[in-house]
């Protein structure tokens, strides 16, 4: 996290200079909190019109994002999931790379969501606790006795990947494939993840590989169903019929990607926040009953999803601005989560904060399907970290993914001392 408001304090930041959709800037500086604060203060619905971006309204206040999210009929979800500067050789924004929950609308969205949502309720997820504990213990055991490690690839990435892969019944040998393809789909413009010369080609190849793999799972689970997510999807129905193949394979891809990207980044970002705020780390170690609240504060602080877009279906008004039918809005969740009209001392990382009205999981129709699972994974992980990590410090800069959609952290080199579990 860069110094809060560093640019603002120098008095140089103006609305014209605000840049919040350039992925290179996210790599260099992390989240543009100073820019978002300026927008919240001076132009909470800001018409962003630049030569290299398809125009959109940047929505930065908590109340407006909640208001828009509550009206999926007035503000519908579209193919283009997020706004970024136009780059050569990227897929056309209106092309359906996947057709899944994120770009569906009611009533279709609810019908599709209903295929698996019972598997993500608090009660269903609670039954996974022992498995999550076991995986977390194994992951941390592997760095016992080590001096240094890359916290992302060796810790944060492993738990959510293993959990979602086990839920799908995917054999361990194929987990690295799921990890690679998720990265390529989410970060195709990042040189570390690109598998081809162009963004379009990287996405296209990753999708084909995903689809091929999931087709095999579908075939197998239709022949011999098990009690796993793959079987629930393969044999699931919408309006009395099996899911069409494109929607079915897209659903697999969505859950695999969403299930391992965001929790990974919340875990990395959370530990990073504790390294930056040693008083809060000591507080957590002293009082582990704070873990659930600490996890909510990590979610608020890190907000792994940067933005989602919506399109207005009729003329309306947001924050005093006239929004016309067909206009696109981008909802910046990390900005809402630092809104000074909702959170006291929003730029303070306070693990005892309560109530914590963050919207890191969104709200309303598209509220994160996996929220309960993510919360449980983060709680188990931070409970064990607080119990077992005796010392931790950065040994180099963190490396961010090139994206203004998901706030990914690719690498975080740390010196870490983990105790063996008693």
């Amino acid at each position: 996290m860069r110094a809060e408001g560093a640019i603002g304090f120098m008095g140089e930041l103006t609305l014209d200079a605000v840049d919040i959709v350039n992925p290179d800037l996210y790599v260099q500086r992390g989240y543009p909190h100073a820019e978002w604060a300026l927008l919240r203060r001076e132009a909470p619905a800001y018409y962003y019109e630049r030569p290299d971006v398809d125009p959109f309204w940047a929505i930065t206040r908590h109340a407006d994002i909640v208001n828009i999210s509550r009206q999926p009929g007035l503000f519908k979800s579209i193919q283009r999931l997020f706004v970024a500067v136009n780059e050569p050789n990227s897929p056309p924004p209106d092309e359906a790379i996947l057709r899944q929950l994120l770009n569906m609308n009611p009533p279709e969205h609810g019908a599709y969501r209903g295929v698996v949502n019972r598997r993500f309720t608090p009660r269903s997820v609670q039954q996974l606790t022992a498995g999550i504990e076991r995986i977390t213990t194994e992951v941390l055991d592997e760095i016992v006795g080590r001096d240094e490690c890359d916290f992302v690839t060796e810790v944060s990435a492993k738990l959510p990947l293993a959990v979602i892969a086990e839920m799908f019944g995917i054999p361990r040998a194929d987990w690295p494939l799921m990890f690679r393809l998720s990265n390529e789909m989410i970060g195709p413009s990042d040189p570390e993840y690109a598998s081809a010369a162009t963004i379009t080609e990287t996405v296209e190849r990753a999708r084909m590989e995903f689809f091929q793999y999931f087709s095999g799972l579908v075939e197998d689970r239709r022949k011999s169903p098990r009690d796993d997510l793959s079987s629930a999807l393969a044999n699931g129905q919408v309006n009395g019929e099996q899911l069409p193949i494109f929607e079915l394979l897209s659903y697999f891809a969505l859950l695999i990607i969403a299930g391992n990207e965001t929790t990974r980044n919340a875990t990395t970002g959370g530990l990073h926040a504790f390294i930056d705020n040693p008083d809060q780390w000591e507080r957590l170690k002293r009082d582990p009953t704070l873990v659930p609240k600490a996890v909510e504060e990590i979610l608020r602080w890190i907000s792994p999803v940067i933005q989602f877009t919506r399109k207005a279906t009729e003329d309306t008004e947001i924050a005093g601005q006239k929004i016309r039918e067909g206009d696109e809005v981008a909802l910046f969740y990390p900005s809402a989560n630092r809104d000074e009209s909702v959170f006291a001392a929003p730029n303070k990382f306070d693990i005892g904060r309560y109530p914590n009205h963050h919207i890191a999981f969104g709200i309303g129709e598209h509220f994160c399907l996996g929220a309960n699972l993510a919360r449980l994974e983060l709680q188990v992980m931070f409970r064990q970290l607080a119990e077992r990590v005796e010392a931790v410090a950065l040994t180099g800069p963190i490396q961010r993914m090139r994206s203004c959609f998901v706030g990914g952290i690719k690498h975080m080199p740390v010196r870490i001392k983990v105790r063996a579990r008693n």
Partner: protein, 64 residues
């Protein structure tokens, strides 16, 4: 004040039970039910917190 939960929206995320356990409960079908349909006005703050925390916006207050 009357409290209702829209069961076509509710997914049993249970935030309402956390903040207003005497008014809502989660049942075996993974949905939240109102057990105190007309709570006294002294509990209004709790109900409003439940309304605002519900991720699916499934809770409504109907004024008498």
């Amino acid at each position: 004040m009357r409290v209702v939960v829209d069961h076509s929206l509710c997914e049993g995320n249970g935030r309402c039970v956390e903040v207003a356990g005497g008014i809502f409960e989660l049942r075996d079908d993974d949905r939240s039910y109102v057990i105190e349909e007309q709570p006294p006005s002294s509990l209004r703050a709790k109900v409003e917190l439940a309304v605002s925390l519900c991720p699916r916006q499934a809770i409504r207050i109907i004024e008498d």
